[in-house]
């Protein structure tokens, strides 16, 4: 044996010894690596850090149950630092260097779009746990958050109903980026199809992190004084919500006058605000912490124990992460391997009980079925569910409201295509 060979063996042995020191798993046993791609610093850290923690909790729990295929799971956590190009770099690192079997991650649509080419090129799986604007279905991505027809459309339906106040006039208020713009385009088309006139719809956009809401709120107030019941549909994202709600409260706009229906405000966001002036304002989600089911109560308890904080809250993207992770585990067990191609084929049709009492099913378009809940903000920062859909709503990758996307269909089982044009009968018809 040469010196070099001996040295490298010694190094491997040393590494193994270190491995046994740092983990409790027996060093000889092989592990399955799972990538976690959530921002732990920068603007998005506020939302994404929680999802990283939830994934660690789920992996830990799965390992206690014996892992997957007899192997332990090992989480590989990277920090893309809210920097979109860095997301692609870190994704490449996870897949090429760490050889992960699947990746759970991303929050903003722009981060998802930036990692897409990497997942396609290296053929891996991404589970995306956040509500988004739709108009996408990729072979390598599984969308466990809501598509617009699972959040925005039912929310508007509720506001139009008698219970929701028979709203006749609409303010679509959003942060200026792709999710609000697409969602508002869908909503505008939907409202017009319901007979709402142009002059009864007002669309406003504000920059990221907007903090001076005085003019915007007084505009809403003026718009709401046309003698018709008015509601605000808010796709305002992230930090800008707190000053928005504070200004609403300060200018005395109550939910009984002009209710605000939000798509991006959850338990986590409310934790930073005094919620008393907000009581009665609405949010549409597929999960609320306040929903009483045994599964949900167990999940909340585990989470609070894991965080060692009895006040830690749970929210919708956390449930989406939970569903995505369990679906992946089931698909791996069904396929008998972690090879991405096999798992991708095994995933459609997989069912997983969600935390609010129904069953989520992975559809051929890589979206899942979800219940939709409308909650009113309560004084304690939780949501009281005032309405829910009777059945589970299947996620639609392509909106039926938009020109150019209503003829498209995504089906990775029969058609093997994410954007099949039913008019021309060709794949790739976007």
């Amino acid at each position: 044996m040469t010196w070099k060979g001996w040295l490298s063996r010694a190094a491997v042995a040393g590494g193994l010894a270190l491995g046994t020191l740092t983990t409790t798993v027996a060093s000889a046993q092989e592990t399955i690596k799972v990538g976690i791609l959530h921002s732990l610093s920068g603007t998005m850290a506020i939302s994404e850090t929680t999802l990283k923690d939830v994934m660690l909790m789920l992996i830990d729990e799965q390992n206690k149950k014996g892992g997957v295929l007899g192997k332990k799971l090992e989480a590989v956590v990277v920090d893309p630092a809210s920097n979109w190009p860095l997301f692609a770099e870190k994704a490449r690192e996870l897949i090429a260097k760490d050889k992960v079997a699947a990746v759970f991650g991303c929050w903003t649509s722009v981060s998802r779009k930036s990692v897409l080419p990497v997942f396609k090129e290296l053929n891996n799986i991404l589970f995306y746990p956040v509500q988004y604007e739709g108009e996408e279905s990729e072979r390598n991505v599984f969308y466990t958050g809501a598509a617009p027809n699972q959040q925005a459309i039912p929310a508007v339906d509720y506001l139009m109903s008698e219970d929701g106040g028979s709203t006749k006039r609409w303010v679509l208020e959003g942060t200026d980026y792709v999710y609000p713009r697409t969602t508002n385009k869908i909503l505008e088309a939907y409202l017009k199809s319901k007979g709402v006139k142009d002059e009864d719809i007002m669309i406003n956009y504000t920059p990221f992190g907007f903090s001076d809401w005085q003019t915007e709120v007084s505009k809403i107030k003026a718009f709401g004084s046309a003698g018709k019941k008015t509601a605000v549909v808010s796709t305002v994202n992230g930090d800008a919500n707190v000053p928005f709600y504070k200004e609403l409260g300060n200018q005395g706009i109550k939910a009984t006058d002009i209710p605000v229906m939000a798509f991006s405000v959850g338990e986590e966001e409310l934790a930073g605000i005094d919620t008393k002036p907000l009581v009665g304002n609405l949010a549409a989600w597929n999960y609320f912490e306040s929903i009483k089911t045994p599964e949900n109560e167990a999940f909340i308890k585990k989470w609070q124990e894991f965080k060692k904080n009895p006040k830690a809250v749970t929210n919708d993207p956390m449930e989406a992460s939970y569903i995505g992770f369990n679906m992946w585990v089931k698909a791996v067990e069904k396929a008998g391997t972690t090879a991405p191609d096999k798992v991708i084929d095994a995933l459609p049709g997989i069912e997983q009980a969600n935390l609010t009492g129904g069953t989520a099913k992975m559809l051929p378009n890589h979206h899942i079925t979800k219940p939709v809940f409308i909650g009113e903000i309560e004084a304690n920062g939780q949501f009281d569910v005032v309405w829910k859909t009777k059945d589970l709503i299947p996620g639609e990758a392509w909106s039926k409201q938009l020109e150019g996307s209503k003829d498209l269909e995504a089906d990775w089982v029969k058609l093997k295509c994410g954007n099949y044009n039913t008019k021309t009968g060709k794949c790739g018809g976007a």
Binding site: L40, S41, G42, T43, A45, I46, T49, E162, D163, G164, G165, D176, N204, Y205, T206, P207, G209, F210, S211, D212, Q214, T215, E216, S218, K219, K221, A222, G224, S225, A226, G227, K228, D239, V242, P243, K246, E247, G249, N250, Q251, G252, A255, T256, D257, P259, E268, E269, A271, G272, I273, D274, G280, L282, E376, E378, A379, D384, V386
Partner: protein, 530 residues
């Protein structure tokens, strides 16, 4: 105070009135209230409000406060008072087993507000009657007319009487053709005199009135109010502009010292603001735990502490990093930017990435009406505070020996050193002063923005804009620039939208700087050449 009264009333009913009242038509109302269906509960509210039951008010109040409970098995209703449940029909204390809260949504809240308004029209307290009249006005319910007429006949307070007349007019106009034409015309006049956006909403709703004269009067009223409101919109924009300007001033004024006077490109300035905001958060947390009664004092207490904290961090940064980099602006920029990232991540690690809740003391919440202009107390205090900080800083620089030395060092360092001034210490304390002022700004900004690790990032660019636009090294320039930018922004926003408005403003500043590179108020003299 009013809350205490209501609580007292509820307690009084719980003790005395409840046992006596196991009777009448209100039983039917109770049966409907004990339900999980919003439609049933709404019917129950309407029935209870008209039943004449003396408990109606307290029960509705309990319902809107989420203190009304029901037992699905036998439809028993109970009011929660403190921790104890009292059965509504028997007045006996009951155990909470099997009781569920009666739920309310916005639709029910509106119905309850309207019913409570009708019930409270005869309340002994003037303020209660006034808010009752306002609630009835908003509800526009024709069923409230008899109660309004009774109340109007008894009312002696002029203001409340006017509110009631407006409420009566609104109720009259609620149904097209519901009252005689003459009555409706008189009602239109009353509503028009009110002149606010609610009035506008009612008058606009009359476009389909059967009587031509009423339609015309309403149209005249609408155009009258609209003309007035267009005028008010300008006043309002000016006020919003001043308020935004004061926020910009607060954010920038510390930078006017570190960048403006000392010439340090301080990218960590925003993080000093953030430290001030977190100091406020800590002070409030401490007060919440130890002495909740002092909550209204949390901001005055936080101001000096924020100044000291941010100032101390500033001095530390100056002594350890910046003093080695004087005269090298590029390296300073990079180093302070690095420091800003370090501070952000440090705060994120200690306090977590999520927002922290900073509450508003009572004198900073709510709004008041000034000639139809709605001014929020929080914004008003921030304007006052910004000006106070500006004056204090100006006095420090102009009227103290420390200020004299600071100016001497920045204007001619060598000469100042030759006169025996310890220039390194003056540098450190001046930087500390600028940072401390940024910390004080953080106390105010915690009231209107998120207290999160990213707080400072949102202000750093605006701060530099203000200081550069106003003229580097000139405090008055900073004041004028902040107010100009604020007002210009707010006048652009209604027309161009928030996104485009900001872009237009940036383009304007770029053009302006091309024309006058030294800003609005350029410094003249030796310091400029130095």
């Amino acid at each position: 105070m009013r809350r205490c009264l209501v609580l007292l009333l509820v307690a009084w009913y719980a003790v005395w009135a409840l046992p006596a009242a196991a009777q009448t038509g209100s039983d039917a109302a109770y049966a409907r209230l004990a339900s999980d269906s919003y439609a049933d509960i709404e019917a129950g509210i309407a029935a209870l409000a008209t039943s004449g039951d003396p408990k109606a008010g307290p029960v509705l109040r309990a319902l809107i406060d989420n203190r009304l409970f029901y037992r699905p098995d036998d439809k028993a209703l109970a009011v929660k008072d403190g921790a104890a449940l009292t059965d509504l029909r028997t007045g006996a204390a009951v155990s909470p087993d099997g009781f569920k809260p009666v739920r309310v949504n916005n639709r029910l809240r509106r119905a309850i507000d309207a019913s409570l308004g009708t019930l409270n029209l005869l309340a002994p307290d003037t303020a209660t009657r006034r808010s009752a009249a306002d609630a009835v006005f908003k509800a526009r319910d024709a069923a409230a007319l008899p109660a309004l007429d009774t109340a109007l006949a008894r009312e002696s307070d002029v203001g409340v009487k006017r509110s009631m007349q407006e409420a009566r007019a609104a109720a009259l106009l609620a149904k097209p053709g519901g009252a005689s034409e003459i009555d409706r015309l008189a009602a239109v006049d009353t509503i028009q005199a009110r002149g606010d956006s609610e009035a506008l909403a009612i008058l606009r709703g009359l476009a389909n009135d059967p009587a031509q004269s009423v339609r015309d009067a309403a149209a005249r009223g609408v155009s009258g109010i609209e003309t007035r409101q267009a005028l008010m919109a300008n006043v309002q924009n000016a006020w919003y502009g001043i308020s935004l300007g004061s926020v910009l001033l607060l954010a920038a004024i510390g930078l006017a010292i570190t960048f403006g006077v000392m010439g340090i490109i301080n990218m960590a300035h925003g993080e000093m603001v953030m430290l001030g905001a977190y100091t406020t958060y800590l002070v409030q947390e401490l007060i919440r735990q130890k002495a909740p009664g002092l909550f209204d004092w949390s901001l005055p207490i936080a101001i000096p502490l924020a100044f000291l904290t941010a100032g101390a961090v500033g001095i530390l940064i100056e002594r350890t990093v910046i003093r080695h980099l004087y005269g090298r602006p590029l390296e300073t920029l990079l180093a302070t930017w690095g420091i800003s990232l370090i501070l952000q991540q440090a705060v994120r690690s200690v306090f977590g990435p999520t927002n922290r809740e900073v509450g508003a003391p009572s004198y900073m919440s709510g709004a008041f009406d000034l000639f139809g202009l709605s001014i929020t107390w929080g914004r008003l205090w921030i304007v006052v505070f910004a000006l106070a900080v500006f004056v204090a800083l100006n006095l420090t620089l102009k009227a103290t020996s420390f200020g004299l030395k600071t100016r001497a060092v920045t204007q001619n360092r060598r000469m100042a050193a030759a006169m025996g001034i310890r220039t390194p210490w003056i540098d450190a304390f001046t930087f500390g002063l600028g940072s401390g002022i940024a910390g004080v700004a953080g106390v105010a900004l915690s009231q209107i923005d998120n207290v999160s690790p990213n707080l400072g990032q949102g202000y750093i660019i605006d701060s530099f804009l203000v200081v550069v636009f106003g003229g580097v090294g000139n405090l008055w320039g900073t004041l004028v620039a902040a107010l100009t930018l604020g007002v210009a922004n707010k006048f652009l926003e209604p027309y161009a939208g928030a996104v485009l408005g900001k872009i237009l403003l940036l383009v304007f500043i770029i053009l302006f700087i091309q024309k006058r590179p030294r800003g609005l108020f350029a410094l003249k003299g030796r310091a400029v050449e130095a």
